[in-house]
Amino acid sequence: MTFVYQKLMGGKSGLSGFIILAVLILVIFPLFLDSFRLNLVGKYLTYAFAAVSLVLIWGYGGVLSLGQGIFFGLGGYGMAMFLKLEASSIANTAIQSTPGIPDFMDWNQITSLPWFWEPFNSFTFTILAILIIPTIFAYIIGAAMFKRRVGGVYFAIITQVIAVILTILIVGQQGFTGGINGITDLRTLNGWDITSDSAKNLFYFINCGLLLTVIIISRFILTSKFGSLLLAIRDKEDRVRFSGYDVSNFKIFVFCFAALISAIGGAMFTLQVGFMSPSFVGIVPSIEMVIFAAVGGRMSLIGAVYGTLLINFGKTGFSESFPELWLFLMGGLFISVVMFFPNGLAGLWQDYGHHVTNKFDFIINLFKRKFLTKSDAPSIEKS
């Protein structure tokens, strides 16, 4: 029991934070938001996977990856390919010159399904591919970089370039990937309509469940000995190396795990939003994910979720009413977070949160004194 309490939940404050988040996304949002808004929150929460992964790799590992969009995209595209193949059955695509292949292939004069699309006919393969392909890809990148002790700025730039390559590839190879529009018109999952409200609500809860699970697993990793070593590597890499640890393997592991989480987020994104496009792969989304984590607090798994929600609500709200102001605000936010609150919302809570909790205690005590103890104070009706 203490194991669960200390390791998975992170003690009293960690547990209460986790419960508050769980209540917020599992109870409060579904109760107070209509189906459309809830779906929107669900979309934001898929970005939170990437933000959580950045807490692991950037906050604790000290390695800034500007390529989480790559893995988010790989996961999303994997799911989208399966759904697209299902949507383009021979019956649905009878009007095409080649029935049975996705519509964008037909528009690009491709007459048979490319070989790498074939396996995505199987749901089992798709799920495995979503989990394994991004992880292997991350392993290749990570092994090549970390074994050669490339880190810091260089790693950030190279991951960014890989994100650019992937985007150009997706946009350029229209016939195979759907191009700039991405893979659209996804309707059913194993014959089940995913565009209905009930399906969307179900996906929302599955998404929340997965996110909370990911947070618990990540916390377990961070509170274990591995987590301490990761922090040690971030702060004094050479000293850890001289103590006999193979530093690169630790970094590779955490990079792969971060990729895996982001890919799950991407797959959930496709399921909830119903399409996938290269605009969730490239530089801009990748950096935005970093900002979600930075605003939430780069050292806080739960903070990252709040950061994601806050920025996305702000983005949707502001860009609807003042599109011009939004970029100024976003830019200002980047700068001020980095310069004045490097630990983000979570850091603010840590520094000033006790004032709020003290106030709460004060109010609760006041209430207790007023209503629970017999006193001569006048009751509310009289005054």
């Binding site: 700025v153 260089y154 650019v164 100024f328």
Partner: protein, 307 residues
């Protein structure tokens, strides 16, 4: 490459090669500024592309003003515009360093985020000031047209002008960094900041002027860029990744490496572009770069820098 005769192939190579040289010039000018900032100071300036756009918009602005009020000055305005682009971008860079960058020297990854924020603000400012549409200045007569050494080869004059400008700026930077007293101070600060300030170099001032110089050169790049393509609010972002690749591939802090790598990247891209689609040419070029960097992370010509 099947259907071309040898002489045609030769002309294609010459012309694509020269198209590559225009790209090379802009990339090199951008990368020179970045190599100074990133190589010498270790700051990742994501807003570097926007400083280039500042230069481009300055050139555009000067051209509009000249056309309206001083039509007689049109043939000569361009040189003046490029000089002004340098001043404007440099001043903005100076201010950015003062307000932002100097607080973040100890956290290089955070400068990346802060300058990205800066780039968003700058992009939106361009959009508010000049509109979302792409603009291009009216070029003076002597920059238009092309030079024809033999019948099948056309070499645009603006490309040659940009090349000349790039050569001039490169020599200037080389002289400034390696021959002047100021350059000595910059290099000393790069190698050992604490010792440099101990021997009386005002490292903070050096940082500020180095950053301003880098941004100013980006401004010149912007001025040169207007002769090749039109400028929009997001023009800077299109070139920033390529520029970073040039600097990293050449080996940070190596001026010579930057030149070689800008040349090879631009040439590879524009020669490939003729035979396969532009997007795939870029994919292959970038992919090759990533592969090479995996085997040689310090870049082609790494200079030994102690940090």
């Amino acid at each position: 490459m099947g259907d071309y005769t040898y002489s045609e192939l030769g002309s294609i190579f010459a012309m694509q090669g020269f198209a590559g040289i225009s790209l090379f010039s802009v990339l090199l000018l951008m990368a020179l500024g970045l190599a100074i900032i990133f190589g010498q100071m270790g700051v990742i300036n994501m807003a570097h592309g926007e400083f280039m756009a500042v230069g481009a918009y300055t050139t555009y602005f000067v051209s509009v003003i000249t056309e309206k009020y001083l039509p007689g000055f049109m043939p000569y305005y361009f040189v003046f515009a490029i000089f002004l682009a340098f001043i404007v971008a440099g001043t903005l860079g100076y201010l950015a360093e003062f307000a932002l960058i100097r607080h973040l020297y100890k956290r290089p990854l955070d400068t990346l985020l802060a300058t990205w924020g800066l780039s968003l603000i700058m992009q939106q400012s361009f959009r508010s000031l000049f509109g979302a549409r792409e603009v291009s200045p009216t070029l003076p007569e002597w920059l238009l047209g092309s030079y024809q050494p033999i019948e099948s080869i056309h070499i645009p004059i603006n490309g040659m002008f940009v090349l000349g400008l790039t050569g001039f700026v490169t020599l200037g930077v080389f002289y400034l960094l390696h021959k002047s007293k100021w350059g000595l101070c910059v290099r000393a600060t790069t190698q050992n900041r604490i010792m440099s300030s101990a021997v009386g170099i005002n490292t903070k001032k050096i940082d500020r002027y180095t950053f301003a110089l880098g941004c100013g050169i980006a401004g010149i790049a912007g001025g040169a860029f207007t002769t090749i393509a039109s400028t929009g609010p997001t023009t800077g972002t299109l070139y920033i990744v390529d520029t970073f690749m040039v600097v990293v591939f050449g080996g940070a802090a190596s001026l010579f490496g930057t030149i070689i790598s800008a040349f090879s990247i631009a040439q590879a891209q524009s020669l490939l572009e003729f035979f396969i689609s532009g997007s795939m040419a870029k994919v292959y070029t970038l992919f090759a770069l990533v592969l090479i960097l995996m085997f040689r992370p310090e870049g082609l010509f790494a200079s030994k820098v102690r940090r």
